[in-house]
Symmetry: D2
Subunit: 361 residues, 4 copies
């Protein structure tokens, strides 16, 4: 396993689907920042299941406790221990799948790698693993916002084959994103998305989708070439999330069809700084932020666990028709919004601190 991330802002996480608790240690948050559990809980609430009819009906009340690193509501500069107890454990739901690895789930690969896997649920590959990240990242968001004014906003830009209109996100707020349970701020498609998810749920199937994420007010100069280039670290963070299959920044894959003369972002004077006319670069050049918004997209595959019957093969080579029981999300992208935001914050805050280290006194 590799459960520690970051250089100066370092998080280590723990927890499986059905153990006593999940959480994280966050090491490197600067001292003297105000911090209370109420600062962390909102992103956990946005992440938790059971928020609407389009997510899994499991009711997990994921309440975070700060174990250390904070005294009288102020950070000490010491590691912040975070714990979310697992309350809603129903291991029985999964038992019948023990001899049959779910297609495109991690059952098979965990068995191959470790020679053992959690007897139920996804174990460490479960989406519950992301709780530690979200709690940790919520603290990083606070640091970034208070110190640099950075805002990180993600939204659902595609569900299945339904695409939202391309939008810049330059003025988008979380409140606007959260107006619908799909978390797509494009009102022309959000109803269709909702219906598609309900329909997938009703047929025991699942849907993929795409998230877009924008980071505003990021100063120029963050990112450490060559292996900690900003886009490399973001791609790494996003592809470490369950169910992600793609990452693109700025014009991304579409931009490969442009000519250099079209793709290049000419410079222009913007108040006290040099900005760019267009932003095909997505706010990053040569691995370093240029002061324009960072903008990227993340592809989430349709969840692997579905009720619909699947013909597959068991560990002993036996042919099986599998119909998953349990309570599963028909589409994870709405709940992935806070996960993408907080993971982004962890990457940005680490690279912000590294740039701070360059200042001579």
């Amino acid at each position: 396993m590799s459960s520690t991330l970051g250089t100066l802002l370092k998080i280590s996480t723990f927890g499986e689907s059905h153990c006593k608790g999940v959480g994280a240690i966050v090491d490197g948050i600067p001292p003297r920042m105000t911090l209370r559990e109420e600062d962390i809980q909102p992103q956990l609430d946005r992440r938790r299941p059971g928020q609407s009819i389009i997510s899994t009906p499991r009711q997990e009340k994921d309440t975070v406790t700060i174990l250390s690193g904070v005294e009288n509501g102020v950070t000490l500069g010491t590691p912040i221990g975070l714990l979310v107890s697992n309350r809603d454990q129903r291991p029985g739901d999964y038992k019948e799948m023990n001899n049959v690895p779910r297609p495109s789930h991690a059952d098979f690969t965990y068995e191959m790698k470790y020679g053992i896997r959690a007897s139920s649920g996804g174990g460490r590959s479960s989406a519950r693993e992301t709780i530690g990240r979200v709690a940790a990242g919520a603290i990083a968001e606070k640091f970034l916002h208070e110190t640099y004014g950075v805002d990180i906003i993600s939204w659902v830009s595609a569900v299945g084959s339904l695409d939202a209109t391309d939008m810049t996100g330059n003025n988008l707020t979380r409140q606007e994103v959260d107006q619908t349970d799909v978390r797509c701020p494009d009102k022309t498609v959000v109803e269709g998305m909702h219906e598609a998810i309900v329909s997938a749920r009703d047929t025991g199937d699942s849907l993929g989708g795409v998230l877009t994420c924008i980071c505003r007010n990021v100063p120029a100069g963050w990112g450490e070439p060559i292996f900690d280039k900003m886009e490399a670290r973001l791609a790494h963070a996003m592809l470490s999330l369950p169910a992600t299959k793609g990452f693109e920044i700025g014009a991304g894959f579409e931009g490969t069809k442009m000519k250099g003369s079209e793709h290049n972002d000419p410079f222009i004077k913007k108040e006290s700084r040099l900005g760019t006319v267009t932003n095909h670069s997505g706010g990053i050049q040569g691995g370093i932020t240029n002061g324009e918004p960072i903008i990227f997209r993340v592809a989430f595959k349709p969840p692997a666990t579905i009720r619909k019957a699947q013909k597959t093969t068991g560990f002993e080579g036996q042919s099986v028709t599998l119909e998953a029981k349990g309570r599963h999300d028909p589409c994870v992208v709405p709940r992935a919004v806070p996960i993408v935001e907080t993971m982004t914050a962890l990457v940005l805050a680490d690279l912000a601190l590294r740039q701070q280290a360059k200042r001579t006194r």
Copy 2:
């Protein structure tokens, strides 16, 4: 800067466009492997400029010297020092760009970050930086092939708006890839790609493209969730390469439009192991290889440095029409083929060694 990558197989690189030399230290290659400079040189030759009329006419004969770690053609288990001297230095070509940051190049961001940048060429953001990676990765390829039979083959699957037919790459060889200077093995489009690149060169413009990469014979079990998941480490490695803007694995972004029942890869008995019928997962589930080929795609933007006139703004806010001089690739994807392959090898070899560590005696 962050110029070191890997946990057990660790590379550290150095070098700018116009310094005395570029290279790498490779630490962690197991002892007692045969290794000579001839094992490394071929991938450097495939990477170097001046191979054909569609790449930059700069003639860089990038000859590698093994400085340490090998005795009598056998590795000692000690760090392998690799040096490629810079011979073809023409700093004068770039001087006039000093007051004007090239649009979408790293000139501006390096200046913002470091308060200084190499007086000519791209400095550390130059493609010459990849020489150390390629030399190091060529050693990793040899280790993977000899120990596990792993083959890594990359090819050009798109140039600008020209897409190659989708191909699995299951039997593709490097010889087939290298039959054309575009390095696209699809004969129905390769001529059009060639012409498009020549046309971009002649008009002083540039083209982007996409590489596909397949890794065959990778055993099940490689990849360290959660932060060193195989796809996370691959995405990280690819987005650390100059000019990359996207990464997708398996069905990638297109796969987000599929339903779970379509996207899931059912298991099937394949000789002594459990394989999958389809491979929408791209050989990885839950961050761990499943024994099927790893397959992914990387988006390269069109090179930023173009001869064509661009209206932009200089460091002092002055309006400028910029026409870059110097010798530049109109399209980097053909030369990126060995870069993608060797970076992939570095990631796979590191995770292979980490899985080896799990064996009890």
Copy 3:
């Protein structure tokens, strides 16, 4: 802060003296090892205060809970979350010291570094911080013993100016060490040591001491030159413990007075392996274990917090006579025995896994 240690066996710890809890995440313990809280608790019990009249009268019942990584008493290969709740909190004891940094304590340096410090106790510099390490290291001990037969035994070899007779520790057991509360197995001096500690306690003063530690049955080949040489990693681990001021291995400082012809350990055939006649090297040559016992010594200074009046200066430059209140150990070395053992286990297990990674299949 830097609260994460290790490459393949990685621990991250959290917790201050008076927060809700202290603990650790242990990532990298191989799967399929039996593990229960009862395997961890004994070393915590040996570490905890209040065991005898010579340690602090604080009664801390430090009970560990395994939060994750273990199912049905078997490790999953996933990170093991460990939590020990803080029960006995008496912050009030320390209040009067807030304006006066305790001489030779971390009060002053934490204030200089972080601009804030825990309002009471030592915060993160408190010995309670070691609980996470001990719990984590107890798991590493189990792995080492079961997989390689490694035994790690530490004992008190000096208290103040009283030295135990030099002993090899070749057959020493923990039971023998624990026969006295001083944890010195040399019966000729242990009573004197006990009396010295009681006397220091009664006069409100404190005593330092030395621990010796032996690691038996360590195979040849562990240690990763040059920066993860075994002795470098051990020295690092020991000097990271509170109150330590020195480390020496094998003949150590005394050995600098020997000639090479005296200090060198000649080889001799020992059963199936090549051993050495003497062991001035302390089981390590060139940073790598040679199959002989590892033996080293650690210096612990007298605890800084004493009841005895001290003339010193406060943060505002005021002259002060300080008489510490609270409950403090007059001598930490007896309680440091399990701390040294478990930290040693963390180092050895990490380097054992790294050597395992070298095996080709």
Copy 4:
């Protein structure tokens, strides 16, 4: 192998005794610092063999070349490649030792670990390995001195059983240290030391010794508890050097015999800062510098390779009388002075940068 050290100032080294070259990559030196080869060469000159009759007669003119990272005498912020070619190769000298591991040398352990070792000399365990560290550390020294005024001075405080008078080193200069070839500034013992080394050389034997090192003008606040405490990192760095067997800081092992009331360093007003009356702590409390000088001692064993006949056992179990040929130092401590200084600089500079990262803008 593990040849990379540091978090923000990272060095990676390569090279064996008889390969083409040794050197290092230094990543993290801030941009815009003047740097030329002449800044690095002096410490290499102090380290090189053949400086006087008491060191090995090998004449190695270790001339450093800066390969990258510096342009027009100014650092770019990019990794600095450093190369020292190996000129004086005499592999034949060692051939007869191939079947007989030298007692207390790394021949045996390298063979056990890697199943192969350099055919001659010490390979990676040779003292030539330290060249990369010294060159890298000389740059770190320059950074520390120019940015913070830090001075690092080491000297020989013991040779064999001859101890120099205890001295604080508060005003000592390198010029004073270098006045004698022994590098002991205590004139009452230096002649005796010189004679002892000459006598050891003449009898084909070797001597150990102790270095003391002082770091002046280090600001309060450097060091990252708990695993990157300043003393832990220094102990790690020192014990990673060839032939070192012990480390102690401040009062060290002797301090364990003091009572707390004697050992504690009371605070006192010193100009604008709070200092301490005594310095038994060696400038560090709780792992963090307190503004007083850092002072520590390092034990070096007598070199293992001696001409004097030794009875030992070969790899095949045969009894052997070994008389080493070749040119070896009878006592390494004089040449170790610049090695200790530069390694210290690497540790301090890394922790200085980490403290800089804490500043909010």
